[in-house]
Amino acid sequence: MDIDMVLGLYNYWIVIVLMMTGFYIVIARGNLIKTVIGLNVFQISVFLLYITMGRVDGGTAPILHETASADQAYSNPLPSVLILTAIVVGVATTALALALIVRIREDYGTIEEDEILILDRES
């Protein structure tokens, strides 16, 4: 693996690092809010993956206008459009998760998962 490959794919490296960071937070957390943050980081890494794959070297936004030359390259807009949908889904998930956390806190008085489990065992 030479340096060009490492630098040339650097978007993908960021995607992988973010993905693993987010995934690790989700698995290793004890605090429900932190879980949601981890989930968000994880989802955002996938958004980056999509945006990266739509990008064409030297490409511009795919808008036709008179001054554009015939051999002008355009980036693929479809992944960005797909990711708009996925972002909406992500926002909805986060909102729902936070609403659930509010209710959990009202009922248990804590948002630490281990404390909740202890409370459940006692009841």
Binding site: F23, L39, M53, T85, A86, A92, T93, L96, L100, I101
Partner: protein, 492 residues
């Protein structure tokens, strides 16, 4: 009008859902949602009828030709799954009002029905769409609404169960999204049929393999395959009875549908089973899941949790059928989706009747309830027979097909283990029967009354369907075998 049926089946419940919120009157909202559900069921019947008459339908959304536009595809398989999803949706909603009155604060009812409709829309959408990204979107529509529905349970543990499901479910859906992204990168298309064609000569690339792995694991979480099932018992136990009835009957089955579509429709069985031994893994995990979950079900003191574990075991049977990848096996897997949907739907509705009258679903509170609630108890017995797979019930048909398929492939050990696992089902079903019929009535059971007719009738509709489809298989096993042979490329 009739040519727009595919999109109407999705659009009607989708548009009706937000309208529900504006009808502030509880009864009005319910009647509206009920009408929409039955209309959707009617449209699914018409769709199936059309498919039977003139073959698969392809509908181009907004008249954009596939593969550029989004395509809706109705073939035997999707019409069959849509039929029972919308049918169970309609029956469960008919059953719903009294049970919801008891379990959810009436001032919140007008929010329950829209979410129910959205959940059904999502599940139907997964079935009908021919576009892979659409599968993800519909999966999230159904999942988000089911998280919200589960969190409405009476116990304070319901929001926590919903939260745990949300975390697992989102990871699963995001895995699916990664897989879709990689496939799009490889093929430049999102249309499933087009993608399969583009991939046909690109099976060796690592990207295909990684995409395949991500999608399999993502959907396995949604299907609750052992060992990714951990979200399911709590979610089913703490959700309101009506919600459990609907979700348990449909959600995991639709995920199995999506899985079958992706394996057979995009990657082809050669890639999945011959080159990458997915079948071995599926058989092993399904069998472990069947045994672990069935044994766990035996030791549960809560009726809902027992059925939840049993659901995990039953998903194992469906996947066993898929992993056989011969005609009988796949037919068995598909028909078990249908049979298990009516069986588990029916049984959860029975549990809802007990929950209404006894205010508990713990086994000790159920003791002797057969004396005061004979019809509900009888429904449990009939549904339980179906779950075990006794001849003349629907459960027998699917287990028979699976057994034939296992013997055909020479999987004698698998066949023997499947029979043995049915005995475990006998144990947990019988445990409840014994408590219902042969123990001293508990305080709650003594003063209980029979469940109201408005709930018993829908329950019996599903329970009797178990018996009907155990004898008359034209529209269950018959359709499933059509679906299976078209998935296997028309060569039985």
């Amino acid at each position: 009008m009739i040519e727009h049926l595919p999109v109407l089946t999705i659009a009607v419940p989708l548009i009706a859902a937000p309208l529900c919120v504006f009808l502030l009157n509880r009864t009005l909202v319910y009647l509206f949602a009920l009408a929409v559900c039955w209309a959707t069921f009617g449209m699914s019947i018409l769709l199936l009828d059309q498919v039977l008459e003139s073959g698969p339908i392809s509908y181009e959304l907004g008249s954009w030709p596939a593969p550029y536009g989004i395509e809706y595809v109705v073939d035997y398989f999707s019409a069959f799954v849509m039929l029972f999803v919308s049918g169970i949706g309609a029956v469960v909603l008919t059953y719903a009002p009294q049970s919801l009155n008891d379990e959810i604060n009436p001032s919140k009812h007008y929010m329950v029905y829209p979410m129910y409709l959205l959940c059904m829309t999502g599940l139907l959408g997964i079935c009908i769409t021919g576009d892979l990204f659409n599968v993800f979107v519909f999966l999230e529509i159904s999942s988000l609404s089911s998280y919200a529905l589960i969190s409405l349970g009476r116990s304070r543990r319901a929001p926590l169960a919903a939260f745990q499901y949300l975390v697992m479910g989102t990871i699963g859906a995001t895995f699916l999204l990664i897989g879709i992204g990689l496939l799009y990168q490889l093929t430049g298309t999102l249309n499933m049929a087009d993608m399969a064609m583009q991939l046909a000569d690109d099976h060796d690339s690592r990207t295909t393999l990684v995409a395949f792995a991500f999608m399999t694991v993502g959907l396995s979480i949604k299907m609750a395959v052992f060992p990714l099932h951990t979200w399911l018992p709590n979610a089913y136990t703490f959700a309101p009875s009506v919600v459990t009835g609907f979700i348990a009957a449909t959600a995991t089955k639709v995920s199995v549908y999506a899985f079958i579509r992706i394996v057979f429709g995009i990657f082809t069985p050669q890639f999945a089973f011959d080159e990458h031994a997915l079948d071995t893994f599926l058989v092993v995990f399904s069998l472990i899941g069947i045994f672990v979950a069935s044994v766990a079900a035996i030791y549960q003191g809560n009726l809902k949790r027992m059925l939840a574990y049993s659901s995990i075991a039953q998903v194992g049977y469906m996947l066993l059928g898929v992993s056989m990848h011969n005609l009988d096996g796949l037919t068995g897997g598909i028909v078990h989706m249908f049979n298990h949907a009516i069986i588990k739907g029916g049984l959860f509705l029975v549990v809802g009747c007990f929950a209404l009258r006894l205010q508990s679903v713990r086994l000790e509170d159920l003791s002797g309830a057969a004396k005061t609630m004979p019809l509900t108890a009888l429904a449990w017995v009939l549904g339980g027979l179906g779950l075990i797979g006794v001849p003349l019930t629907a459960g027998f048909i699917s287990k028979w097909l699976l057994l034939t398929a296992a013997l055909e492939n020479g999987y004698y050990l698998v066949a023997a283990l499947m029979l043995a696992s049915s005995l475990l089902a006998v144990v947990y079903v019988w445990r409840v029967v014994e408590i219902l019929y042969f123990s001293e009535p508990s305080e709650a059971a003594k003063s209980a009354r029979e469940a109201p007719w408005s709930m018993l009738l829908p329950t019996y509709a599903l329970i009797l369907a178990i018996l009907v489809f155990g004898v008359w298989t034209t529209y269950s096993a018959g359709l499933a075998s059509e679906a299976a042979s078209s998935l296997l490329g028309g060569t039985p």
